[in-house]
Subunit: 244 residues, 4 copies
């Protein structure tokens, strides 16, 4: 499979180029950065392009790629409902082209959310602990808040997690996100970690995800590159490509 990269000189783009070159089943064709002509992808017979660029650039990139019949794997942010609708309308004219837009390529993060959703309705209790480096501005993390809402949604109709707390110190029981308690640890030395704890009589189930460095998006991007072609049209999130 012949793969090109948009934003190839950026930190993320360069990491992706390295990963493509290291993969036996993929051939790196060309890297395109600001100022380079997009037609380089056509000249190099590129089949899939990875786009980790900028909200200002990504829509023009997609319009070109879809028009040229080239599949796309997109990690660039800033996709509003309006932008999504625009991409769909371009794809309507090119039914064989496949575009994947994903907010999170870390396979472990995606699976842990999916497993939390599946497990949620079988346990009396659920709480979330997320642990990050101390430079993080928000608490809880966006991922933890999203996981909590997902779990709360899956538990709809069930009684709340039991909790006999009657005395204590403010904050000990964490933040309440749709009825799910979320605890945020900030510690020097950590990167990005999350535990979802489920409990019922006599047993607990813990799903833990550890992001050790900034390259954890790579396996998910490669999975996208390899499988996007089997999903013509627009796909949001890597879950459908994982059969979830």
């Amino acid at each position: 499979m012949r793969v090109g990269v948009l934003g190839a000189k950026g930190k993320v783009g360069a990491t992706i180029v390295d990963a493509i070159e290291a993969a036996d089943d993929l051939t790196f064709t060309v890297g395109v950065d600001a100022g380079d002509p997009l037609t380089l992808f056509i000249d190099s017979q590129t089949e899939v392009v990875v786009d980790f660029t900028h909200p200002d650039a990504v829509m023009a990139n997609l319009e070109f790629l879809i028009g040229a019949g080239i599949n796309a794997v997109v990690g660039t942010t800033g996709f509003t409902d309006q932008r999504i609708a625009q991409v769909r309308s371009w794809l309507a004219d090119q039914p064989d082209v496949a575009v994947l837009i994903a907010p999170n390529f870390a396979i472990g993060a995606v699976l842990s959310m999916e497993f939390a959703r599946q497990a949620a309705r079988f346990f009396e209790s659920v709480e979330i602990i997320e642990l990050h480096h101390p430079h993080k501005a928000d608490a809880p993390s966006g991922t933890a808040a999203r996981t909590a809402r997902l779990v709360a949604d899956a538990r709809k109709g069930l009684p709340p997690s039991p909790d006999a707390t009657s005395t204590g110190i403010d904050g000990a029981r964490g933040a309440d996100v749709d009825g799910v308690r979320v605890h945020s640890v900030r510690l020097a030395g950590l990167v990005a970690h999350q535990e979802i704890l489920f409990g019922t009589q006599g047993e607990t189930l813990t799903i833990r995800h550890d992001s050790m460095d900034r390259t954890s998006f790579v396996p998910g991007v490669l999975l996208g590159v390899r499988n996007v072609g089997d999903h013509p049209g627009l796909t949001i999130g890597i879950e459908p490509l994982m059969g979830l």
Copy 2:
């Protein structure tokens, strides 16, 4: 729902009777032990019977219950292929009756195996650590060996987990179960615990199950009691009742 218990005076049976009595939506009808007539279940209009008895008794129990049109949730062991076939043939004559036979009612154990199966093909590496009290005779545990085989099966066609070990001490890298490394810890103070570790570039996903005491089968038995009726015929394992 009206629920009876076979083997009600045994340790497990008594725990189940307590749990039925504590549940708002279930009514305990009658406990039947060796020597008591099975017709007590008919007299008491029992709808579901839980059987944690003995391989010597369970077949006669099931023949009676199926004949009487009463559903059964069975935790008794010793079901050979031949016995399974016999139960199916009895059920063929009673298409509305439902029988659930499960080797493991611990919901957390069942879910962790299922999640391991789902995650297996998305990670480069997988290993299993199981941790038990030091009175356990087998290493690895039956659950760990079964989980390893399940994971190995789901990874079929993928390269083995990378491992550059070239020097060391025998046993350091654990037992090899179908290509999956399994490590068995035996420690005073522990009960029964298992971690399945998955890793890929920059991230890991860990699924941990902790059994803290011997009553962790209770929620799974109640789930069986409440849902077996929606699955006429024979069901093996609680997974189908959990929508897995």
Copy 3:
């Protein structure tokens, strides 16, 4: 060594009697409960008595034992400064007698607090997560609050743990105990667990204590029985007997 038990028919006392009988180097002499004469300990040539009774009874017990020259290991609660002074004054007249009064006999809990104290001044960051069954009334637990104060005291003069949190949901960052963040998880299936997390550049150190059942005081009581005689006078806490 000849060992007797006060409160031998209580749940805790009975567990201690079993443990003494199971130990090769200890001989169980006699159990004394409300109504029994304390002189039974003299008649049976008891050398050490374990007291897990009641605040209303313990002072009379100690006055008798000290007077009779019998060492004591005490887990009964309710020792005010005034009571402690009284015990010391009785011991002043019997310089060879040894009394151990300990608020916590769980060796793992005692060690984890001691290690937290030792580690505290070497790390930029410290936080505590305590996890308990959902029937617990207080949050954070008494042990977690005590650990946090111990750590805060050991860190005196150091800058606070770094924390860039600027937006979030109330409670996410836990309770503030003397500048140490404490998070309280309440989950069905858990017993009593605590993690103390330390972090600095590129590394973390975690000290985790798991109490799996209510008998975790036994090894500490036996350690007290075996060693109290080497510490004449009054000893508070098992730490000095552990060489800490």
Copy 4:
């Protein structure tokens, strides 16, 4: 305090220069690499020099520094008994000079070994799990083997950890290092991690160390720089500077 660095252009040396420049209480004086004159440290009135160079260079460096009355913090490897004796003889003539030679500057690693040593004799059971990236050649890791021997030594005279294993698969129970079982996990995504598990009746104590990146030596080096002057003569390992 005025601090210089030997091997300043190496990866480790450059990280140390950055850390010195970032510390308010330290002043970076000069970096010296192969070919540069060591007298630069005298010209710049350097008080402490950090040496992360090469076994071929370190002895000449130390002879110069000791002669010039400059303290040294050394992470270079290759110190045989003979080399240690040589350093001591140089220091005998310069009683005010302090040299610290340490095999491991990671504070968390040092503390976890020290805590393991302290805890070892209070628990029935102990096992070690070490977890590393899959490119590691040796299993178990040198740190795990050293920790196991330390623990075994502290447990001398105690019965072995209980273990009823009678059937199983080779390797499941790990490597036997002086009677302590050590399990080596190799997993993509991991860096360097170690858990020491202690257990007794009803409770466990776990000491876990996580090295998340290659800069975890920095806090220990700075601790060495700040405190070496209080320990004239030769100090082996950072433990004495930590009051352990």
